[in-house]
């Protein structure tokens, strides 16, 4: 296999032209290749996709309509590119495309650059993974960011790596933490006005979450915002204020090891100049040991992009007890001249916030199974809990298995990291949902590193006989479910909405599907050969609209499946990128 071709795409003349166009930008932001303007306008420009979420707002929306609900029957594969070999694990990425080249990450922290039309490989980068990485949840990666002539992505051993887009060679590397202590990274970073913004995973190992901004050209740290109260942020190497107020919502010194890992990527809203980033569980896992809301775990943080200061926050699950990470995307959208942000949480509720101040506007359940809480109080933003909190393990002195609590959603969430889509035409959000519950019980004696401690047991189970997953369309303002398409296996892949009145998404059964955005009518599907856990994109090149999606089964569902395993038996592994266009 050819890993690097000598063909280095010369963007020199073009970059001069671009530089003269973006004269308004500060000189330091004028770069070859992908510009700040390209990033800011990504959701509007149809010739490329240079950001995760198809625009920094993460709406996964395209104004392209050449492929539409009338001609979708003629959509056929243009090529299938194999990520190859024995490295067929979960392919969770969203590809990027710029200047006729697709950049996509694959399992085992590999990166591929391909000719977007032919699928011919230009180069491949293989990150060398150290043996000591903690092999938790498959060797996945969710994608990268483009800036200038750099492709920037994060690795399982907690490095941020910038590759030259022409050659695939490493330009800079930056550590996000010691992988031996449990730090890891799988999310796609985003670039905001020349800074690459990223979080880090590892909350289950007591890592305190940090959201960081690095100079995208050099990898140098600009600011750092810890997600848990009591910790001090930094700006240009100097202290920049405490997150929250010490011991306001945490007892003792537990804030020091309080978790809150921002392991998914966030979004950016240029209209309010706000970064919106979700945070994970508080630690330790048992809520009885940390009475209090445990801010800012399980929250969306609204950050100033220049300084990393917190403008506002919204917490979804106070004193969290069920593993409902608050890391799903918070997606800006406008309606009736008002600025909102939408968030479908792992906890099964869909929240609409005023993104100028974080105030709750609307909240409604998007899954039937939300037995942990009956509703969200619209005045306080707090859940009305239904008495399904797992018990206190210290109350079980005999060392036996504690009382089993059956609760929904499961810890895999009503939806998860992969991202819903928003149609600017229909005004609907398209949410890949899962109807799963779990049994959860205390295990007063479990073992970790050869020593006893108090843990918990989980077992996931489907809530219905005939389906687990369901693609659903919601009106965010009324909470009305406009339509749904049921799916046997849990949905674990991002959606995409287009002006062609279409919603695209993949299923673990291997089908890449298109449905009518207004009615949910299933219009088209293609069997990609393996389960889909990655996100599609669309763009046009030389007047032709293309769609591409990674295929390759793996990631969290097969690892944690419990009874769900029956629904996903026999799904073949694979590792490919399938690109489509209309038959002429």
């Amino acid at each position: 296999m050819k890993y690097v071709s000598g063909a280095c795409k010369s963007g020199f003349l073009k970059s001069i032209a671009v530089a003269s166009i973006v004269f308004a930008a500060p000189m330091s932001n004028v770069v070859a290749g992908v510009t700040d303007a390209d990033i800011a306008n990504d959701a509007k420009t149809t010739g490329d996709v240079v950001t995760h979420g198809m625009g920094l707002q993460g709406q996964r929306w395209s104004p392209l309509n050449k492929i539409n609900s009338k001609n979708i029957g003629k959509l056929v594969p243009a090529y299938t590119f194999s990520f190859g070999g024995e490295k067929m694990r979960g392919q969770e990425a969203q590809p990027l495309v710029h200047d006729g080249v697709i950049y996509v990450t694959a399992s085992y922290n590999r990166v591929f650059a391909l000719d977007a039309i032919t699928g011919k490989q230009k180069w491949q980068y293989d990150h060398r993974l150290p043996e000591g990485i903690l092999p938790c949840c498959d060797v996945i990666n969710r994608g990268g960011a483009l800036y200038g002539d750099l492709f920037i992505f994060a690795t399982l051993d907690a490095l941020l790596v910038a590759l030259n887009t022409g050659t695939g060679e490493v330009v800079w590397k930056q550590s996000l933490g010691d992988f031996k202590a449990g730090h890891s990274a799988t999310a796609a970073p985003i670039v905001v006005e020349g800074k690459v913004i990223t979080g880090v995973a590892g909350g289950e190992f007591g890592i305190v979450g940090k959201i960081r901004a690095f100079d995208a050209k050099t990898g140098k740290l600009v600011w750092e915002r810890p997600t848990i109260e009591g910790h001090i942020g930094t700006l240009n190497g100097k202290p920049n204020g405490m997150t929250g107020k010490l011991n306001a919502t945490w007892p003792g010194d537990l804030w020091k090891v309080g978790g809150g890992a921002p392991w998914n990527n966030g979004t950016y809203d240029a209209e309010t100049r706000t970064i919106l980033w979700g945070t994970g569980n508080p630690a330790p896992w048992n809520s009885h040991m940390r009475p209090g809301d445990n801010l800012y775990a399980i929250s969306t943080l609204a950050l100033d992009p220049d300084t990393g200061k917190i403008k506002w926050h919204f917490q979804y699950t106070p004193n969290e007890a069920w593993d409902y990470d608050g890391t799903n995307h918070t997606i800006p959208f406008n309606k009736g001249g008002k600025k909102y942000a939408a968030h479908a949480d792992r906890n099964g509720f869909f929240y609409v916030l005023d993104r100028t101040n974080g105030k709750l506007v609307n909240a409604f359940p998007f899954v039937d199974g939300h037995s942990w809480a009956s509703s969200i109080d619209l005045k306080t933003g707090r859940p009305i809990e239904a008495g399904k909190r797992p018990g206190d393990p210290t109350k079980s002195a005999d060392g036996k298995k504690g009382t089993v609590v059956t609760v929904s959603p499961s810890f895999l969430g009503g939806t998860n990291f992969f991202g819903m889509a928003y149609s600017q035409n229909t005004g609907l959000f398209y949410v890949p949902t899962n109807e799963m519950g779990m049994d959860i019980w205390n295990e007063p004696i479990t073992y970790k590193k050869g020593a006893a401690y108090m843990g918990a047991g989980f077992s996931i189970k489907p809530l219905n006989d005939d389906y687990i997953g369901a693609m659903r369309a919601f009106d965010p303002m009324t909470g009305k479910k406009v339509w749904e398409v049921k799916n046997g296996a849990p949905l674990w892949a991002g959606a995409m909405a287009t002006a062609g009145n279409l919603v695209f998404y993949g299923t673990p059964e291997g089908f890449f599907k298109a449905v009518d955005a207004k009615s949910g009518k299933e219009l088209w599907q293609y069997q990609t050969g393996s389960g889909i856990v990655g996100s599609p994109i669309t763009w046009e090149q030389d007047g032709v609209q293309y769609i591409t999606v990674p295929s390759g089964w793996g990631a969290a569902v097969p690892l944690w499946g419990g009874e769900v395993a029956k629904q996903i038996e026999g799904i073949a592994q694979g590792a490919s990128l399938v690109t489509f266009k209309l038959l002429k």
């Binding site: 043996e131 990485i133 938790c136 007892p251 003792g252 040991m289 060392g399 007063p444």
Partner: protein, 285 residues
């Protein structure tokens, strides 16, 4: 990129090599003259990388002694603890992992517990060799002699995060001690804080605390304390072997019986500055 080529070549060689020597039957182990042990990294005084990069510690010395009894050469692999023992057993004892490769022949420092034995059918839990105890090392200058658990209502006590001591102190007596608990990433950090008088006591695994205090050990009162409601105040440590590997299990059990009977195991603990406590499973035969 030349680097990519060399990386892939390296990985291929490592995987190939690994596959031929990991998790072998006793006859293969004898034939190859190599027995592979997995032990936790960064876990003094049990197992850690010494300054020369070689594996060292109590568990490593026990592995060496076992290998000598079997007449083969020991090779040690220092591994990282995942969220639960079940994960470690899967990756390092019976199945392996697509990043870290095939499992080892033997994992050291695995709890010997009847519930685990019932639950994990893919693993044989064998040869218990010591008992770990949850103890308190108290600074009697600050707490007086023979302090009782209630002193932690007001006095700072250090723990390693996510341990039995941590969970117990956060929850016991309706959280009465919760605000006194000071969390550390490891026992050596906690014992250093005790020496620095930042805390009045450390609660945790006896062997780690004794080693962490080192020469200062005699300045502190170290012992069991009445801890009403604790889920487990002690547990036995032994070996884990893939359950299908019966010949190896038997050979290791015979070897361990001998090493305990002739005092070798006790000597190893004492050599590392720690006291030895025989496993309850052997005392209660």
């Amino acid at each position: 990129m030349k680097n990519n080529h060399s990386t892939i070549f390296f990985l291929t060689v490592v995987c190939f090599f690994s596959a031929s020597v990991f998790a072998e039957s006793l006859s293969k182990i004898t034939e190859n003259d190599i027995i592979k042990f997995a032990a936790y990294d960064d876990f003094p005084p049990y197992s850690y990388a010494a300054k020369d990069g070689k594996a060292a510690g109590i568990d490593i010395d026990i592995g060496k002694a076992l290998a000598m009894e079997l007449g083969v050469t020991p090779v040690f692999r220092l591994v990282f603890a995942d969220e639960s023992l079940e994960d470690d057993l899967r990756v390092y004892v019976w199945k392996g992992h697509h990043v870290t490769g095939p499992p080892a022949d033997v994992m050291l420092h695995v709890p010997y517990d009847q519930n685990l034995i019932k639950k994990e059918d893919k693993v044989s839990f064998i040869a218990p060799y010591s008992e770990e105890q949850v103890v308190v090392a108290a600074d009697t200058d600050q707490l007086g002699n023979n302090p009782q658990i209630m002193v932690f209502t007001t006095n700072k006590v250090g723990v390693e995060r996510v341990t039995m001591a941590d969970g117990y102190l956060l929850g016991a007596f309706q959280g009465r001690f919760r605000n006194s608990v000071v969390h550390f990433q490891s026992i050596p950090e906690a014992t250093q804080a005790l020496i620095n008088k930042e805390v009045t006591a450390v609660m945790g695994a006896r062997t780690e605390i004794e080693a962490g205090l080192g020469k200062a050990k005699d300045d502190y009162q170290i012992g069991l304390m009445a801890m009403p409601g604790i889920a487990a105040a002690s547990w036995d440590l032994g070996l884990a072997v893939k359950s299908s590997n019966k010949d190896l299990s038997k050979a290791l059990e015979v070897a361990m019986d001998k090493l305990i009977a002739d005092g070798s195991i006790k000597k190893i603990f004492n050599k590392h500055g720690t006291s030895y406590h025989a496993p309850a499973a052997r005392i209660n035969y």
